[in-house]
Amino acid sequence: MTAGLLIWAAHFVGLYLLASAADVWSSTEAAAGRWVGLGFSLLCLALIAVAAIVIARRPVPDGPGLWERRVALTGAFVAAVGVTWQTTPLAF
């Protein structure tokens, strides 16, 4: 139910760690660091998509299962928007 949100959390912690590592080893302004950040973001988006597809392709449950499925899919959607939004600083 929280797969998308978990990946979102991993994404922003990961971006912070990548930026900090870039700051130690070279410079946060270096293009390489930004490409790694972009790659990481795409990976997270792909994982969210996989999670959403897995949830969506399961047989539609009834009762509480349906409710959990709705929350999970909405969470995955919000997470995808969040990851995309938080990747935009790489463009500047």
């Binding site: 139910m1 929280t2 949100l5 978990l6 979102w8 959390a9 922003f12 912690v13 971006l15 912070y16 930026a19 900090s20 870039a22 700051d23 130690v24 946060t28 302004e29 660091g33 930004r34 950040g37 449950p61 009834d62 009762g63 509480p64 299962g65 349906l66 409710w67 959990e68 709705r70 929350v71 909405t74 969470g75 919000v78 997470a79 928007v81 969040g82 939004w85 938080q86 935009t88 600083p89 790489l90 500047f92």
Partner: protein
């Protein structure tokens, strides 16, 4: 619906039962759950109906005390160059105001609300660890009062509520004022974590049958997320306070740049806790709003799944915005940009909740009685605070507004709108549950309007004073800067707010009558289980929940519950019991025997508080004695747990029998231990982050690690310790002759092994010339090993405890929980120590 546990949910159709209930059933239930009869029993009580009221009362006491401090500050700032408060006293007062509001009011108040309301909301008789809840309350009350009293001796902390070093290091804060904060707050956070464990296990394991996740009310959802956030966030402040206290007491240079430390580490650790703290405070209040608004509007909450998803999303993203408090510290620009984006993203889930509340108000027929007014007023104020939050999430604006009164205005709008108003709404809404009389509606409306006006008159002008350049925390200011008038207006507003709180206190004194023979009842026509007729035993019988709004949609439920026609209508064997259910579908699993009152948790809290507070005044021998007494009391408390049962099963109604004892992952104790270990793991993880962070500041000061051969030996010992811990429960379950002795021996070997390995590792580093007070590497390595050693030390105490249980015949193969839990703890201890060893040996580079 697929069964989660194998329980046949068609058995729910047997309820409500028919026919008369057995004679004496209700009397037996009342006798098992009787309230205090002697004065001392009011202190040793553990029932949530009593502890919850104490807890809310104590939190509101601290709210009033911190509010008085705010009035003192506003009096000082009413006019320029006032001499009402000396500068030093002002520093102590603003520090105590922030600290008490954040640590002794906001978090405990919502936790208290959870302790008071959750059992009834979930249809449980009590939370699963009532003694732990009571211990958490007494520890909080004693620690909090002692901490507050430091103000009267001029010993209160004066470094601001977030206590940044180097200001709070020994150089600039040489007295013991800062130590009171560090040890006092660290201790109180432990109490908050104890409460969080109680809430998580309570919400996941003691819901009424049928209360699946979609039928779980929003308030328990919010409390569940709140408690999980505490488990993840609070270890950070515990670690931070430990590190700063180690630096102050022993000179370990975590934050001293001359020896490789960095004050920025404090800011990272503090705000990793501090920002989620805002949502930790907000989410339960939002849960209360999502409960109160539909009830007052007499309609279902619009978009309930979205609201739950938004609360989950808020919980997750709150851990990704900590550094937005640090935009001016010189972090890399790209990191600042990430945190700025994340901070703006928070407005999405918050907005979802706000729109759901507005839509619910629009869809229903809102009654603007006092709870309704406070709910809507809080919504308005919170939205205003949220808007300025988006402003300060923008880095260029934040650079201008940072540490100015604009921030003071912003944070008060968010916290008062997001927590204080909902708290008052909750008090006016739910108080009839616990009091013979409800609070006065007429006074309530006066209180609301005074508070609403007072808040805006006090804090709206602060936006202007901030934009005009007035820095926060100044004890006075010069005339002629344009700050005079807005400050004077703010002071008038603060006193109006104070008047509202005074009226509320008078209302409480006039009308609040707890622990009476009956309550005022469901005067708001609330839809939740908490409005069922109840006593100290909570509900007479535990219903099957078929709706999110059971009292609105399950007609006749209250009468059936009161007649004992649902689950667990009595107290078999005169025991206090509650039904434990599965975490997802809430299917009955077993009957949990709850403890009865005893003094040991109270003594434990007194001596634990004594240990921390006496450490502050550096009377180390007395502190150790207090600590030993605390351990003794806690061991006595645990001694009577995991006791044998007279019956293997209990009839929980309609001929359905459930076991009285379960061990392993299905048991509530196992869940609690796992949560404790997550807390330990978080501290260790953050200590590991601190280690790497400190290396990144001054790698030139770091020396090579000791010889690798010793690492292999130490890891080998830890592997053995972990193996013994993992095997012990299996040995016990084989139930062969001597199984108890073998399991005990394995656990003792595991504990001693882990302690030995950590001790050997410490010696290896010491021999290699690394000293904890010389460099940040030494401080970080010894802190990590200290943490692993603390776990090993607790493991040794557990080894002693299990030996004693074996010696007194309190171990048995048919009751393996004690061995399970100690085995789990020791296996974790060995694993954690191995991770620590690998980190400090292999990063940044291996030794010879």
């Amino acid at each position: 619906m697929t069964s989660e546990t194998g329980f046949d949910v068609r058995k729910y159709d047997r309820f409500p039962t028919e026919g008369s209930r057995p004679d004496g059933e209700l009397e037996q239930l009342e006798a098992a759950w009787c309230g205090p009869r002697r004065p001392g029993e009011w202190i040793t009580a553990i029932n949530n109906n009593i502890i919850g009221v104490y807890y809310v009362g104590a939190a509101m006491l601290f709210f009033v005390l911190a509010g008085v401090l705010a009035l003192l500050m506003r009096t000082q700032l009413a006019l320029p160059m006032t001499g009402f408060l000396p500068q030093e006293t002002y520093n102590q007062i603003f520090t105590m105001h922030g600290t008490v509001m954040m640590f002794l009011f906001a978090v405990p108040a919502v936790e208290a609300l959870g302790v008071l309301l959750l059992p009834q909301m979930l249809g449980a008789r009590d939370l699963p660890f009532p003694r732990l809840g009571a211990y958490a309350f007494w520890a909080y009350l004693i620690g909090g009062l002692a901490f507050f009293c430091s103000l009267f001796f001029g010993l209160a902390p004066d470094g601001g509520w977030f206590m940044y070093p180097p200001l709070t290091g020994m150089t600039y804060s040489p007295g013991i004022n800062a130590d009171f904060w560090l040890l006092g707050i660290g201790f109180i956070e432990i109490s908050a974590i104890a409460g969080a464990i109680e809430i998580i296990v309570g919400v996941l394991k003691t819901r009424a049958p049928g209360m699946t996740l979609d039928k779980l009310p929003v308030f328990p959802w919010a409390m569940l997320i709140f408690a999980c956030m505490i488990i993840i966030a609070f270890p950070s402040v515990i670690l931070a306070t430990l590190l700063l206290e180690l630096e102050r007491a022993l000179g370990w240079p975590f934050f001293d740049p001359l020896k490789g430390g960095d004050p920025m580490l404090w800011q990272h650790l503090f705000w990793f806790f501090g920002h989620p703290e805002v949502y930790i405070i907000f989410l339960p209040a939002a849960g209360a709003m999502s409960t109160i608004i539909p009830a007052m509007a007499r309609t279902r909450l619009v978009g309930q799944p979205l609201v739950v998803m938004a609360m989950l999303a808020t919980g997750f993203i709150s851990f990704g915005v900590w550094a937005h408090h640090m935009f001016t510290t010189g972090m890399p620009q790209i990191s600042i940009n990430y945190f700025s984006a994340a901070s703006m993203a928070v407005s999405v889930p918050a907005g979802v909740q706000v729109f759901a509340w507005i839509a619910t108000i629009a869809a229903g027929k809102m009654r603007f009685s006092t709870p309704g007014l406070f709910a809507v007023g809080g919504l308005i104020i919170f939205v205003m605070g949220g808007l300025t939050g988006v402003m300060v999430a923008m880095v260029p604006f934040d650079w201008q507004a940072h540490d100015s009164y604009f921030i003071v205005a912003h944070l008060h709008y968010v916290l008062i709108g997001g927590m204080v108003f909902p708290m008052f709404a909750a008090i006016y809404y739910w108080l009839p549950m616990s009091s013979v009389r409800p609070l006065s509606e007429r006074m309530g409306k006066w209180i609301f309007w005074l508070m609403f006006a007072g808040h805006n008159i006090a804090f709206m002008p602060m936006h202007l004073t901030g934009l005009m350049g007035m820095p926060r925390r100044v004890y006075t200011y010069l005339p002629g800067r344009g700050w005079d008038l807005p400050n004077f207006i703010s002071t008038i507003g603060a006193f109006l707010f104070g008047l509202a709180v005074l009226l509320w206190v008078i209302d409480m004194i006039r009308n609040f009558r707890p622990f009476g023979p009956r309550e005022a009842g469901n005067i708001h026509d609330g839809p939740g289980l908490e409005w069922l007729p109840s006593g100290y035993y909570s509900v007479r019988s535990v219903p099957v929940v078929k709706s999110l709004y059971p009292l609105w949609e399950q007609k006749g439920l209250a009468k059936e519950v009161e007649e004992g026609r649902w689950f667990l209508p009595g107290a078999a064997g005169g025991e206090r019991q509650t039904l434990v259910t599965s975490p997802l579908n809430a299917e009955p699993q077993y009957v949990l025997r709850l403890p009865r009152p005893s003094p040991w948790h109270v003594f434990g809290a007194v001596f634990t508080a004594g240990f921390f507070l006496i450490l502050t005044i550096q009377a180390y021998a007395v502190a150790v004695v207090s600590g030993v007494l605390a351990i003794y009391c806690i061991m006595r408390w645990c001694w009577f747990l995991d006791a044998p049962h007279n019956r293997k099963t209990t009839d929980i109604g309609a001929g359905i029998r459930m076991p009285n004892y379960v061990s392993g992952p299905s048991s509530h104790g196992w869940w609690a231990m796992v949560i404790v270990l997550i807390v330990g793991g978080m501290v260790c993880l953050l200590a590991g982050f601190s280690y790497v962070f400190l290396w990144s500041r001054r790698p030139d000061l770091w020396q090579a690690s000791p010889a690798m051969a010793s690492l292999m030996l130490h890891l080998g010992v830890l592997a053995l310790a972990g193996l013994c811990a993992a095997v012990a429960p299996r040995m016990l379950r084989r139930a062969r002759t001597g199984a108890e002795t073998l399991a005990t021996a394995l656990l003792v070997v595991s504990a001693v092994g882990a302690a030995t390995a950590v001790g050997l590792e410490l010696r290896a580093w010491w021999s290699a010339g690394l000293k904890p007070d010389a460099t940040s590497q030494g401080a970080a390595v010894f802190a990590l090993l200290g943490w692993a050693g603390a776990f090993a030390g607790i493991g040794v105490l557990m080894g002693l405890y299990i030996l004693l249980r074996r010696a007194f015949g309190r171990l048995s193969a048919d009751r393996p929980s004690t061995v399970d839990l100690i085995g789990l703890f020791l296996a974790y201890t060995a694993g954690q120590a191995a991770m620590v060893l690998l980190l400090i040996r292999l990063f940044p580079g291996a030794g010879p």
